[in-house]
Amino acid sequence: MKPEEIYADRRARTHALHLGMWIFLGSETLLFAGLFGLYSAYRAQFPADFATAVGHNDATIGTINTLVLIVSSFFVAWSIHALRGGHRRMCIASLVTAMALGASFLGLKTIEYSHHFAEGIAPGAQYTSTELPEAGARTFFTLYYAMTGLHALHVIAGLAILGWLATRVRRRRTTTERHVELELGGLYWHLIDVVWIFLWPLLYLTG
């Protein structure tokens, strides 16, 4: 049956959608919980090796990527702000900027991955590097690939959503009057940002 028939008014529906999105975000975050659990357990097992391995990661790229995601997050928030203020073009522009930043995040990640592969630092059985302590480093980098890989998948999904939203705004489907989907899409993108905010120190800084 039609939403109008189910809900008292559109505000009730908006509220419900936000609720649903937040619960979904909680669920999404717990998808990473297992990896955080493994990370902390293995780190407790090989403290020294993990430190060395973290040190081996390129903190510069990591830090730049962090800033990139934060700024993109800002532009997503800004796009909502703009649309609420009725500035359609600015909304589209900020969405596109956010997407560009997201894409460059993935670009930097690819560069990083290629560096690692060049050194024989590949996940699991493909790990051939010998310069780092055998036991811990391999595990660290397997986790590194699992965590960043899962995160990258979310970034790709997020980019798709942002693109879809941008076209909706352009086609005047998403408007100042009704833009709940923009808010929800934004929430998803911010979650991706938040997850990375935690991955960054764990994988690049705390050497």
């Binding site: 189910i6 717990l30 998808l31 699991g124």
Partner: protein, 534 residues
């Protein structure tokens, strides 16, 4: 017999098959889930029967060891993820929660339909494994064996992952529905306990399922490309997989049992025409179980090489869950007191349930006692314990629910006599299937044993005999209800004299649930109030 057709109801929307396959009506989706889960039950049950027959003799009876190992794996996978988890929420939750809170539908009807098709997809993918070589890891997928075995591990873990997505979808849907769609005047304390248990269940589903999805994915990747996260040869730690697995799978037990407890509450109150002796305790214990269930996963790992420290902590925490379950049991018994109890098939199932669930639960306390678990772990005692909860608890309650709400859903009554017979066969059959298994466990027969020392045979024979009675009982139930669907007497709106909202709408309910808007003046257990106003 000539009989005027049933009144206008959700069964007819004039759109034929399309109306069923593309429906967004929560009631129809409930029916779809009923057929899905019933098929799963039949499939899993068949596997179980073959297993039981194989165990009639100490060595080969029917199938070879490899087939046997695959059968118990697929039995577990099908029963847990394709039947038990979606059964009560998917069927009765979908059908009744909106009506119980006075809503026309769930918050996200399309998401609801999607969750059914995702469930279907997941089931299919899981079953592809059967033809793709089968899986012999056991439903627990313990590393490193699950990584090294050459079976269709990839198919099963992917299938279960997809099933998990369906679970999360419906979990989100229920939580939002209960939060936002309660009719005017229906407060949090004015909803039936069944709604509360579905709410608690949904919370667990949303929070725990992703962790399972991830760990199974890791196992799948490990099996396919040697990720080695849990592989000792690569510095991995297999015990950590067990941590992740049980972090989901212990709460999952409560996903399976909480809705059952809700059903039982409804039945006890309706048939004794007494409000629950303490609504507050029932709802606190439901939420309590949901929460504490997350703190106890380690009691599956006492002898797995886990630290003694963790064993102590998890052992103590595990005892708390039993408390909450005990509160529920006492509340039910106290609710019967002073009632005007009408006997019917559902309440008879409750009688069986009361013994099976309490003993099953207490045997849980027993295996949570670490020194005793050392002897019992991975023996038939554990098998018997969780079947008491899953079958004696959940399945019994599912059948009780089926008989309780049958008149509402179909608009027809079934034969009480056949209901009684099948209920007795199911309960006794179950009892004789699994009581011997406690004794087998005490004697030390490990689970997942294809062949066993001769001294265990007589108990296995008894267990198999019981299993066949149980199977017959289930067939009888299906048959009796099928007959009732076409031949049954027309059922009134409220055959049991309940006060719960779903009984105030016609049987079967009309398309948009309510002819007259729901009347919140009387709570779901306000029997006298209803009577006076009628």
């Amino acid at each position: 017999m000539t009989e005027s057709p049933l009144p206008e109801s959700f069964w007819r929307d004039g759109r034929g098959l399309r109306g069923w396959l593309l429906t967004t009506d929560h009631k129809r989706i409930g029916i779809l889930f009923f057929f899905g889960t019933t098929l799963a039950l039949i499939l899993g049950g068949t596997f179980a029967l073959v297993l039981r027959l194989e165990l009639l003799t100490p060595d080969k009876t029917l199938v070879d060891a490899h087939t046997y190992n695959q059968l118990f794996t697929h039995h577990g996978v099908v029963m847990v993820w394709m039947f038990l988890i979606p059964s009560i929420p998917g069927v009765f939750g979908n059908f009744f929660v909106p009506i119980m809170i006075g809503a026309k539908d769930v918050a996200f009807p399309r998401l609801n339909l999607a969750s059914f098709y995702v469930y279907l997809l997941g089931s299919v993918v899981t079953l592809v494994a059967l033809v793709a070589g089968g899986v012999d890891t056991g439903w627990t997928f313990y590393a490193p064996y699950s990584a090294s075995t050459n079976g269709a591990v990839g198919w099963v873990v992917t299938g279960v992952f997809i099933l998990g997505i369906s679970t999360i979808m419906s979990g989100i849907n229920f939580i939002v529905t209960i939060h936002t769609l309660r009719a005017k005047g229906v407060g949090w304390m004015g909803i039936p306990i069944f709604v509360w248990t579905i709410y608690a269940t949904s919370i667990i589903q949303v929070l725990a399922t992703p962790v399972l999805g991830l760990s199974l994915m890791l196992v799948g990747i490990d099996h396919a490309w040697g990720l080695g996260l849990f592989d000792p040869a690569a510095g991995g730690d297999p015990v950590l997989f067990q941590h992740l697995f049980w972090f989901y799978s212990h709460p999952a037990v409560y996903i399976m049992i909480l809705p059952a407890l809700g059903v039982i509450t409804e039945i006890v109150c309706t048939f004794s025409r007494n409000p629950p002796v303490s609504y507050r305790l029932l709802l606190v214990s439901a939420l309590g179980i949901a929460f504490v269930g997350f703190l106890t996963w380690g009691h599956h790992m006492f002898i797995a090489g886990m630290s003694t420290f963790d064993s102590g902590v998890f052992g103590a925490l595990s005892m708390l869950v039993a408390i909450f379950s005990a509160i529920k049991v006492f509340t039910w018994v106290a609710t019967l007191y002073g009632g005007r109890i009408s006997l019917g098939t559902p309440i008879l199932y409750f009688f069986g349930f009361s013994f099976l669930f309490v003993f099953g639960g207490m045997s849980g306390v027993a295996v949570a006692t670490s020194s005793l678990d050392v002897h019992w772990h991975d023996t038939y005692f554990v098998v018997a314990h969780f079947h008491f909860i899953m079958v004696g608890g959940s399945l019994t309650a599912y059948l009780a629910a089926l008989h309780y709400w049958f008149p509402k859903v179909t608009g027809r009554q079934y034969s009480g006599r056949w209901g009684l017979v099948s209920a007795m066969m199911v309960t006794l059959g179950f009892f004789f299937t699994f009581m011997p298994q406690f004794l087998l466990g005490n004697a030390g027969m490990p689970r997942r044993y294809y062949s066993y020392p001769d001294r265990y045979q007589w108990l296995n024979v008894m267990s198999t005999a019981g299993a066949s009675v149980l199977a017959l009982g289930l067939l009888l139930t299906v048959g009796a209800l099928a007959v009732a669907c076409v031949r049954g007497k027309r059922a009134p709106a409220d055959p049991w004299g309940s006060a719960s909202p779903e009984w105030q709408v016609p049987s079967p309910p009309p398309q948009h649930n309510f002819v007259t808007p729901p009347d919140p003046r009387h709570g779901p257990y306000d029997y006298d109030g209803r009577e006076r106003s009628e």
